[in-house]
Symmetry: C2
Subunit: 349 residues, 2 copies
């Protein structure tokens, strides 16, 4: 029996709704297994800007430092987009949170659920059986380099140190050894010096994992292969900017954007969130799919070492998919609401 | 009746084969309409490294400067890949050619051919009717910024000047006015300063094209939308690196990688090439699809102001598709060879 403290950041748009359902499921796990989860709910994102002027208030950051794990809903509000003059943006809070907590590895499993194949934009034979996990570097590269304006224009600097590559590369290789023993590095080594460094480091580390076959793909080719033959991928390793693009591309091929969880981990901290955004148009309508957030809770349980509990949550989700207890984007006729899906899964647990 | 000088760079892999067929078609145009095309065939890419040590020998560059247009096959050879130590790479020749000639706009039309819908990895309803053109900035950004190593790692600098954005933005807006009057800027303005500059410049220019509706998409979202709903796109405008990724992604959704041409233009120079690579495994087998290169010749004819001639080449290609005179990747039973497809199209012309 464990006691864990969890910082909960529901965020904006549909974030609070999907978080509420994920917490229902966590509560059910707690009841069934006797664990104690202490929740500390905090503001972050546009709602935090509205309330405090800061997308990541000091108290929120503090709560995250003190927690064993963080559950995030989603952040972002259209009133801060398309406005190059906006000085404060919800995204800044997210970037600062990642950097402050040292969450250097973003981990995104992408699975094709057989019952959902008809919802994929891809033909079923291309995606049936897809099962990959993407390791995206999350606190380096062009996201965090120097940026600014000059007389004539603007600049963004991309930098990587060896050490930044080494630590996430080990995580990705280790993951490969527990899976199908294949690792694909996605880079642009024919053009970028940082990519050549990534390739060098990965080539140096590879001998430590003799069971893992390593493959190298230029990012433009990877963007094509993701559509042409996504089954070829097992573990993908890549830098921050390419990971942003490739992992979002990967997330839609399986037709299950609302089902995909993610973990962002560092030496000590760990954050779990659905990969979908705050989807403001859907806010308050009861149509948001809570499953991605619920599966993020399953990743959190695994992170706590609670494998049985995590497996039970995943089993509950599979059952829900089988029974077609689904929100409207996956079931047009007689769809279920966000709350009904959450309750069904919590009940199974 | 025109006289034009064309530098021909067949390049590596299947490059020479597809160029040969495109030149057959150009010859047919010349015979039918009485134009004179003077060809100047030159080395470039891996074959140029092998012959001279330089992927872009001085004589090749000189020929390109003196030509009215350049036709490129494809460059690249596996022996120069996956070798971070290789000091000379075929790609360097291409990048230097683009920069030396000031080819700042890469233009890629992506069309879904109805007869090929069954070959798309996407379901037909998603792609039927897709018709977009991508304007990728080609001589700025992280490709051409300072790059190098430091004690601990490596760096690549991305810079853009206002002027670099202005000139391609005008081309893209002009294209939109001759099409469906929609322009989508793809950037990462929530993170990058250069992207915020792109957004600013595009917002400033937009009023000069009141008929054009402007849309802004973050690149990660664009990578998703390209799969979920590619029909929404008319003209896409984007910077160099994002353009590399998004245009390659776009090229496979229609199931017709071997059919897509491109133009790269500057103030004075213009280069035409298929978007596919050198595909070394297919070299010499007669299985390479020459249509992308033939359609690149059609774009060249348009560039010369020869609209009737260009339309005739496109009509010939449509006829070829209708009659299913196709290479193996598009026709498994009784496929035609590279030469047969080229001859069929040249003959129609
Ligand atoms: C909101 C944005 C800064 C963020 C990113 O680009 O990292 C998001 O797209 C993501 O992938 O988590
Ligand atoms: C070969 C490479 C340097 C090039 C690029 O990235 O620009 C290619 O991928 C392209 O898109 O023409």
């Amino acid at each position: 029996v464990l006691t864990k403290r969890i910082a909960v950041l529901p965020g904006d748009g549909i974030g609070p709704e999907v978080c509420a359902e994920a917490l229902k499921v966590l509560e059910a796990v707690s009841e069934r297994f006797g664990h104690q989860f202490e929740l500390d709910v905090q503001l972050m994102g546009a709602c935090a800007i509205d309330a405090t002027g800061d997308p990541l208030p000091e108290s929120t950051l503090q709560a995250c430092f003190e927690a064993d794990a963080i559950l995030l809903g989603a952040i972002g509000d259209p009133k801060y987009d398309n406005n190059p003059a906006a000085k404060v943006r919800p995204e800044q809070g997210l970037l600062r949170l990642r950097k402050s907590l040292g969450l250097f590895a973003n981990i995104r499993p992408v699975t094709a659920y057989e019952v959902l194949l008809s919802h994929s934009p891809l033909k079923s034979d291309r995606i049936s059986g897809v099962d990959m996990v993407i390791y995206r570097e999350l606190t380096g590269g062009i996201y965090f380099g120097q940026k600014g304006r000059t007389e004539e224009g603007a600049f963004d600097h991309c930098t990587y140190t060896r050490e930044e590559i080494v630590r996430i590369a080990h995580l990705a290789f280790q993951a490969a050894t527990t899976r199908r023993n294949k690792l694909t590095l996605v880079d642009k080594a024919n053009v970028l010096e940082t990519s050549r460094l990534w390739r060098e480091v990965v080539q140096q580390i590879a001998p430590e994992y003799p069971s893992v076959a390593v493959d190298y793909l230029f990012v433009d080719n990877a963007a094509m292969q993701m559509i042409l033959n996504p089954k070829q991928f097992d573990v993908i390793l890549t830098e921050n900017m390419f990971g942003d693009i490739i992992s979002d591309e990967a997330s839609v091929i399986a037709g299950s954007l609302g089902l995909l969880p993610s973990a962002s981990v560092g030496e000590t901290a760990a954050l779990f969130e659905p990969i979908h955004g705050s989807f403001p148009q859907a806010k308050g309508k009861g149509i948001a799919n809570p499953i991605a957030t619920i599966l993020s809770v399953a990743m959190m349980l695994e992170h706590f070492g609670l494998q049985e509990e995590a497996d039970l949550v995943k089993e509950a989700v599979d059952y829900t998919l089988d029974k077609k207890v689904l929100t409207p984007e996956l079931r047009a006729d007689h769809p279920f609401t966000t709350e009904q899906v959450g309750a069904f899964i919590a009940n199974y647990v």
